[in-house]
């Protein structure tokens, strides 16, 4: 799994209310509509700025708060290729894998707003092309790679008729 795109930088403790506010998520199952509001309390123009394949880059505890799966889905439907953070809240992390959104744990201090990145998930390497440096990424546990390779937990279940981990 490889991705090319620009970094959109956020801080620590980006919670699920910031990712997609509760006031939207209860109204619809249309993720394309929800995606328009992704991150809007932190950056009202994020949806317009983000190009397909771009990365959200954040500090610690990304996705803390609610169990809303609309959070990783809204990010995915906004076109984001992967989320890179120092650490993730556990429910968000599971939800991201289950919905097929790659999440990468790495040291994000040397990734800045607008940097051009190349992320190789299989090799566990992030290349910051703007700065000409590489950063190691924490490898995903096998269970998660299996789910991600199937495209998420729903396709995994459909393919295997249950858990096949």
């Amino acid at each position: 799994m490889q991705f090319n795109g620009r970094a959109h930088k956020f801080g620590d403790d980006v919670n699920t209310d910031y990712i997609i506010s509760g006031k939207y998520k209860f109204k619809t199952l249309d993720m394309k509509k929800l995606a328009k509001h992704v991150m809007e309390d932190l950056d009202p123009h994020f949806y317009e700025k983000v190009a397909a394949g771009d990365f959200i880059v954040a500090g610690t505890n990304f996705g803390c708060g609610s169990s809303r799966e609309q959070a990783p889905l809204a990010i995915k439907y906004a076109g984001v290729g992967a989320v890179l953070a120092k650490s993730f809240a556990r429910i968000f992390y599971r939800n991201a894998i289950n919905t097929g959104l790659p999440v990468v744990e790495c040291d994000t201090d040397q990734l800045e707003q607008g940097d051009e990145l190349y992320v190789d998930l299989t090799a566990g390497v992030i290349t910051n092309r703007t700065k000409g440096i590489t950063i190691p990424a924490k490898p995903l546990p096998t269970v998660m790679i299996k789910i991600l390779n199937d495209g998420g937990l729903a396709p995994h279940f459909k393919k295997h008729g249950g858990f096949n981990l």
Binding site: G22, T60, C64, S67, E69, S87, T99, V143, L165
Partner: protein
């Protein structure tokens, strides 16, 4: 090698000796979804090719987050849930039954030693009943509904030893806020927690739920307690089921053990916009508030309403404050009526709303105006949480919220004891 509570429950449910770090596929005893998460789970259920739930008596939906429905979009999702539950033949707790985390324990379906997954982050609440219950997303919920299973990474555990006696006017909410402020919002990420010590033993079962409810606010997967006579007395009101309690071994291995003496603890508040931004009430006293909220899965139980009524009874709230009260469940509402608590609260000026989540998550029932300040008994004060990102939210105990509603300012409840 000794095992923690969560290692024992996950061992029993997976049929293998499980220790922290292992990945297991475990059988779940109960599966729950609410109206913010169930609609997506229904979609995932269909995408997975699901045709039936693994056991009709082990699955429930609760309509509590936007209940009754405030608009057509939500109404359509509620209808989808009703039809799906009806077709599959499992239980749906409709509007007015209460917040899922009060409804489930009251249903008698969860108890010591059980493994429960709920598509709501505060599912960790039933840890106070000695159950491993944890929040998951909609796709995990769908997988659980179909298979009755779920994969887990067995977590390490942080043990909180709380000794001493809580002073008058200081409650379990103050203690858990203090612990969260101390370990921070991600201090227990990927981990389980256990609460022990004489301060926990002295608490009522209702007060214990508040502690376990907020384990997720330090990132934890679970907030576990051992079961005692109070736990069983509480359970016996709702079920005749037999449960096998689970205790930690004396030589269990903990990631960390933290000790607290609660004897000198003061009432606490979490300040905007982080749950771990905690300070003693005295430091924020005098800050003007516009809305006060008593309710939610954290502090909407009978004991909480009783404490609030003890302060509000025979008095009137400040003329510039709205006080919203949402009993955690219909059962709580009925018990509070029978005790005369509702009468006292309404006479004091409270606006009662339907048992359920109330204004907690910003969908209805009291969205604050721009730049207003709210003090609430809930568990989260994130920016925008109550539906307006320019509002400020403080979190506190029912006593502190009640006292603040009387004065119109953040107030130490001990002034009214």
């Amino acid at each position: 090698m000794g095992r923690t509570i969560i290692e024992k429950i996950l061992s029993a449910k997976s049929g293998q000796e499980a220790y922290a770090g292992d990945i297991v596929v475990a059988a779940v005893d109960y599966v729950m979804g609410q109206d913010g998460t169930a609609p997506l789970a229904i979609r995932a259920f269909n995408d997975m090719g699901g045709t039936a739930v693994f056991n009709r008596s082990s699955v429930a939906f609760v309509i509590d987050h936007s209940a009754p429905s405030p608009n057509e979009g939500v109404s359509a999702l509620h209808k989808l849930m009703r039809e799906f539950a009806g077709n599959c033949g499992f239980c749906l707790h409709d509007i007015g039954t209460g917040v899922c985390h009060q409804v489930l324990p009251e249903s008698g379906e969860v108890g010591p030693g059980y493994l429960i997954i709920g598509a709501d982050s505060h599912t960790c609440t039933y840890g106070a009943l000695n159950a491993f219950s944890t929040g998951v997303g909609s796709t995990d919920l769908a997988g659980g509904m179909i298979s009755g299973q779920m994969w887990f990474k067995v977590p390490e555990t942080i043990k909180f030893v709380c000794s001493g006696v809580l002073p008058a006017g200081v409650y379990s909410k103050d203690l858990i806020l203090h612990l969260i402020g101390d370990v921070t919002a991600d201090g227990a990420t990927y981990m389980s927690t256990e609460y022990v010590g004489e301060a926990i033993e002295a608490m009522s079962q209702e007060a214990r739920f508040t502690m376990s409810n907020m384990a997720i606010e330090m990132g934890a997967k679970a907030g576990l307690m051992e079961a005692d006579e109070k736990t069983f007395a509480w359970l016996r009101r709702f079920t005749t089921r037999e449960f096998t309690p689970v205790t930690a071994d004396h030589d269990a291995v903990y990631a960390r053990v933290r000790e607290y003496d609660v004897t000198k603890l003061e009432p606490q508040v979490a300040r905007p916009h982080r749950v771990d931004n905690v300070a003693p009430v005295s430091r924020e006293a005098g800050k003007t508030i516009h809305q006060a909220v008593i309710g939610t899965c954290t502090n909407g139980r009978l004991e909480d309403l009783r404490i609030a009524a003890g302060i509000l009874g025979g008095r009137k709230i400040h003329r510039d404050v709205r006080l919203i009260v949402a009993p955690a469940s219909r059962r709580v509402f009925l018990d509070a009526m029978a005790e005369g608590i509702i009468q006292l609260l309404v006479e004091a000026g409270a606006a009662l709303v339907t048992p359920g989540c109330g204004p907690c998550v910003g969908t209805h029932n009291g969205v604050p105006a721009d730049n207003e300040t709210v003090i609430s008994t809930a568990n989260r004060n994130f920016k925008g949480r109550m539906g307006n990102s320019s509002a400020e939210i403080y979190l506190a105990s029912p006593a502190t919220v009640a006292a603040s509603a009387l004065t119109g300012k953040i107030t130490d409840p001990r002034e009214f004891l």
